[in-house]
Symmetry: C2
Subunit: 207 residues, 2 copies
DNA sequence: AGATTGTTAGACAAATTTGTTTAATACTCT
DNA sequence: AGAGTATTAAACAAATTTGTCTAACAATCT
């Protein structure tokens, strides 16, 4: 039952290779032969462990949904910090999360677009948490607005503003990458965007 | 040489079908047989007119780049209106453009990601215009900033803020669509986003 | 040592996909 | 009427892709 030999067992290697291929190329453009090649195993092994391409993809997709849950759960936990500081923290957390997972948004959006069934899966996994968080934050916002220290905004709009600005930074990066001439400059460009996004949201909500 | 029969000649029908299929499913997931089926012609006709799938795709891609040039050129023409009003106009123009072409951003981003050669083509077609426009607008911004009627911002950041917010509205629409229960509510949701985006940018730049 | 599991290499089948070709027919123009 | 173009239907080839299967060997466990 247990794996033998080297720590990095073949089953995991296949999963890692599949993750790379699916996230880089999407479902359709990914070939199982290429996954096997990247994993350094024979093509037969892939089917031995994961039966089908679709099954292997679903494993990756579900794993990526789990990955996405982390920042959403972080959003949900109501820390005892001034809302305005917390929003700034959330932006930074989400932005840094994307820095670690730059291909994730495009992967999810792309696959959900070509297979709407996957949208349902996402909603089942994070829908409730998200709705609850929106409700909580909306209450907080309204309190701050009543105290005249915040501009009115719906939690949904605020969420979408932040996600739009953060996600699009990384979705559009392949297109704007050439503006930065080396890795260091690119990191600088990314950090500049982060500051700009925080500033934009702050101007949007602070009075 | 000329086409005969009905106005909607087969050659054009194939192009239309290809546009639909490529924009909806992307290059890899699109099958030439499906294009032929949608166009209502035999599979042989597709190759008769367009030789190969790749050739047909390139036609569509270049056509979509041309489509994208419209709002970029609109951005370039320096109308004699107060910058602050012009920015608002640009946001609305771009947003409404996306309403008419909701699949365009995802299509371009997706295909450029899987084929970086296409990024070069985009840059060749719109790079110069965009750089020039950025320079012009930056000068204007700086004047307004000097007069203390605008907050400082780089033209590039402003551009990216607007594009991020506008584009992500439509990229994420398939995921958030269920929030609206019918077509009317969906249009309402979209119009609300438009207002929110204008507001956000205004707070970001106006003093 | 024997049983079980992991692994390879390779052959193979079935389906799909792209692209070509041919023969026949219809339409359009001069 | 005849030439040329548009179009269909269908057969076909070649390549790719997914998936199965088998025979052999290696590693591990009991």
């Amino acid at each position: 039952m247990t794996q033998k030999k080297d720590a990095k067992n073949k089953k995991q290697q296949i999963l890692d290779a599949a993750e790379y291929e699916f996230l880089t190329n999407g479902y359709e453009a990914t070939k199982t032969t290429q996954i096997a090649k990247r994993a350094g195993v024979t093509h037969a092994m892939l089917h031995y462990y994961y039966q089908s391409k679709e099954n292997l993809f679903n494993k990756i997709f579900e794993d990526k949904i789990e990955t996405l849950k982390a920042p959403i759960d972080a959003l949900a936990q109501n820390k005892d910090i001034d809302l305005r500081d917390r929003i700034r923290e959330i932006i930074e957390l989400h932005f840094d999360f994307l820095k670690t997972h730059p291909d994730l948004p495009h992967f999810l959006i792309n696959e959900m677009r070509s297979n709407p069934q996957l949208i349902k899966i996402l909603r089942e996994k994070v829908g409730d948490t998200l709705r609850g968080t929106f409700a909580t934050i909306q209450t907080e916002i309204d309190e701050y607005v009543a105290k005249d220290i915040m501009k009115p905004i719906s939690a949904f709009d605020l969420f979408l503003d932040i996600v739009s600005l953060n996600v699009f930074t990384f979705i559009s990066l392949p297109i704007f990458r050439h503006i930065a001439y080396n890795e260091e400059k690119e990191q600088q460009l990314i950090e500049n965007r982060k500051k700009e996004i925080i500033q934009t949201i702050n101007y949007r909500i602070l009075k």
